[in-house]
Assembly symmetry: D4
Homo-oligomer: 161 residues x 8
């Protein structure tokens, strides 16, 4: 992990199947990441300390997935100036609406870049981190364009009937 | 402030008109409190430190009011073993539904005693703290019963027409 | 049941799988409880009488689980001055939103400490009762701290990959 | 009040402007009613006692208006076998959704006839009570038909431009 | 069908499993009913004609179950002066919220007595009709009281552990 | 009204300010319309009869605005084979969500073309009717294109600062 | 495909099971259609170009199904003056509410005729397109009437018990 | 505008009061921006063309505010590989829930970094763009830290009573 560019955090191990959509995309783009379970509520000090240390280690963005009262992304954003991306996870009876509102409705001053609830959001969290990295990495920008072109091609190749 | 029993926190000074419903009740019951603006997102370290110090100062419960992605009560509950009461405040376009879900949908392990959105909740937060104190304060329990009797009397005295 | 400290009520026997999350925690902390099915709507008198008798038996808090139009916790709070904790249970097509709003939106004067919908809430209801008991029970407070430390350790011990 | 046929209850005096839509209709139909403020949470015993006494006094239906966690209609239905009509009142930040779900989502066994949130519901609560009375009152049934005809005429008489 | 007292209508044959909760209760109380599939949208004329004919046949109330944009109860209420009871049925992706709001939010002038979404509502629709019939049927009123007593007994007989 | 092409209906005269957004657009395009207050619930027969007569008079589409349990568009669609456009109107405490779900969630077999809640929807209802008419009216299609071009120009002409 | 009258688009191949409800109806009415997967977000240029070319090919309406942030119908409506019908598809944790609001809440100027979420909407989208075509196709109008009559007959033929 | 780093777009001029919260922050940080009204639905081609040209002009992120069916951010994200930030604007009866779901629920492949509804979101959109720029601008990172410190100080300086 010589060159970790993205940190991935999740509030509970049970969020892993969603977060693996994030890691799958980062692997596909050969971007190094590290991944941890850390909770805003159950490991608050470790979460703060970890968030505070990210920038100085050269990490460029943080992706946080959490369900229910999803405080993780907001708390991380309070302890770093890196861009923080929040994935609301559908893990309660309320279908992810709790996690969505907890993640996105941040008060002015502490931004969280929120993506869609669940796996679609987890894919896009990775792509958003990649877009940020690609601002200063021409090769990555080209891969993103190729990814887009492939996506397009896949759709255009679909034959119905 | 020789004998503060209840700590009141709010995420923003604009929450004060709601929180004054809490202080009004505590004054009526002659229970000492202290009140502070501290934010889970904008003053995270001060919030944690304050929460951690409460129990050893003899404080018996904490009431936290916050709007939007209302992380305050949850973060305080992560840093103390006192009972934490959360008041969701209606301060965004979403009518307090964001604050309600953020406050109440805590993950297992870190409880927040959530009351109603806004001023009704602020009154009840005080009464809940008083019920907790009254478990070991017979005089206070009698005042609570008198409050209940007065409430009842007020309703029964209403004459329509 | 020499020393029951917590009373647990549920509106219907079908709520039991949720409420067992509460009893599991109380057993783990060796706190004695009693548990009953009593309904605000189907056994209103027995519910009131039971609620009224709790305080004089030395019980320190009441935990009420109910689904749909979840009136139980509010009705119990109307008949006792003990702290009442309400668990909204997801038992209808509306995903627990009905139980949540019925439990939490209490009018000023009659507080209910509401926790999350379903099993997460049931765990936290027990922990909230324990936090209340621990205010006057140093050993219990230490157990709560140990529980928190264990929770933290469990998260920090997770190895991904 | 020699011949009261309908009892009207409301949870708080602030509900009166809504409930006056109910009384207006009953007056128009010259049906006698009585009206009271009684709360499921603040005057639970008086509410139960009042509900239990209604049938033996010859009253034929009960209309209950309440906001927030609107337990009134359900509690009344638990204490009488009369038809109980519930009006959810919009009195909190949540736009009446809390009162609607609390009123309508009754568990099996204890029916509440729920009408629309607020003033439209208050008009219809009266009309529903009248429909019930009209089952055994031919003159009233004719008045209801005339009311319907007048409503229709009022609409058909509208000239736009 | 010599003495049909309750008419039951549903918007689609797929609503039958819910509506059978209604018929089960009516059978238990030995009250005669008739049951039909008729749609506000697909058989509008037959629906109107049927609704208009009910009162003169001695029927005392109508129970209408429908899902989605549940117009049936409202349309029936427009064509009769009998009490109309509406059961919102959860038959779309929106979990019955569509049927609930369509059924309950009737404009002033045309009342629908709305009960809970789905099977709980279907039970209560029957009980509501029975309460209306019992206003002039002492024996039925006694059966309702016995039903209530049995319900209570069933709950009080539950032994946990 | 020699050549009425569009019929406009609304459930209540209070819906007129919204519906005038529809008439404004039709006037701008010089398309003749007629406009009526007719209610699915209060004038059911007149509504059906009116809907049934539209096609034979050469009318090409019907626009129906209604609030609350907005049954109008669906009932009209049940009585004509013309395209029916429904405008949900925000006229209750529930912010138009009731009217939206009632209008759009039609069962299979009876289509309603639903547009946005309120005035934006009223503008678009007119434009949708015009698009339908323009399928066989080249001049109208050109006016629609010009309207689009004007809209575009208006946006492009905005100077900020 | 000599005489394609309806274009059907969907945002993702996974929407096909819903959209086949549309094609089934069109086949039943022997109306020719073409069907494509094209995405507002993943193939924006192809989507625009396709939408722009539809009118000149004699196509009379476009049906667009999409889930999540369902931009497809709106984007198509921006590139054609044909009537555009939008089917919100339930493909996320939020039960189709996201797709419904994205599809129906179009700003003034760009109308989308929105139908119900999911398969019911897909059937009605076809019927709405047929109603538009039938304005100038007497035979089709008769088939629509027959379809309605058959629907009615199917309901009236149902025998319960 | 020698060195524009952030592009700001809004769907309608009426969104300006919200978007000025964004420009205020950028001015405070002395970061150059350009601001435009461009609509996904009313100026689709200009919107696409503008989005496609941004990267080559050295712009580093795009902030898009839109209400109702808020397609703007998603459409822009489809035409650029820059990070796109979406601000849902509360401009309809539905309190911004429509704009929130339309903005955040993007399908996998096309990420939008969504912030809170309305002015809080507009402030945070600017701060998020600044965090992205600060990854390669040490002076800006220091200003962000100072902004945070000032925020904290402002809260800690509040004296209640």
């Amino acid at each position: 992990m010589a060159n970790v560019q993205v940190a991935i955090m999740m509030g509970s191990k049970s969020d892993l199947p969603v977060m693996e959509e994030t890691t799958k995309v980062l692997k596909e783009f050969a971007v190094e990441y590290e991944i941890k379970v850390l909770s805003a509520h159950r490991t608050p000090k470790e979460t703060s300390a970890y968030a505070e240390g990210l920038a100085s280690r050269g990490i460029k963005s943080v992706i946080c997935g959490a369900g229910a009262s999803a405080a993780l992304a907001g708390v991380v954003a309070a302890h770093t100036n890196l861009p923080v991306i929040g994935i609301p996870i559908d893990s309660t009876a309320l279908n992810g609406m709790d996690a969505l509102l907890s993640t996105v409705q941040m008060p002015p001053g502490v931004p969280v870049a929120t993506v869609a609830v669940g796996k679609a959001g987890a894919v896009n969290a990775a792509l958003l981190a990649l877009r940020i990295l690609a601002l200063h990495d021409k090769a990555l920008e080209e891969k993103l364009q190729k990814f887009k072109d492939d996506q397009k091609k896949k759709i255009l190749d679909i034959k119905l009937e």
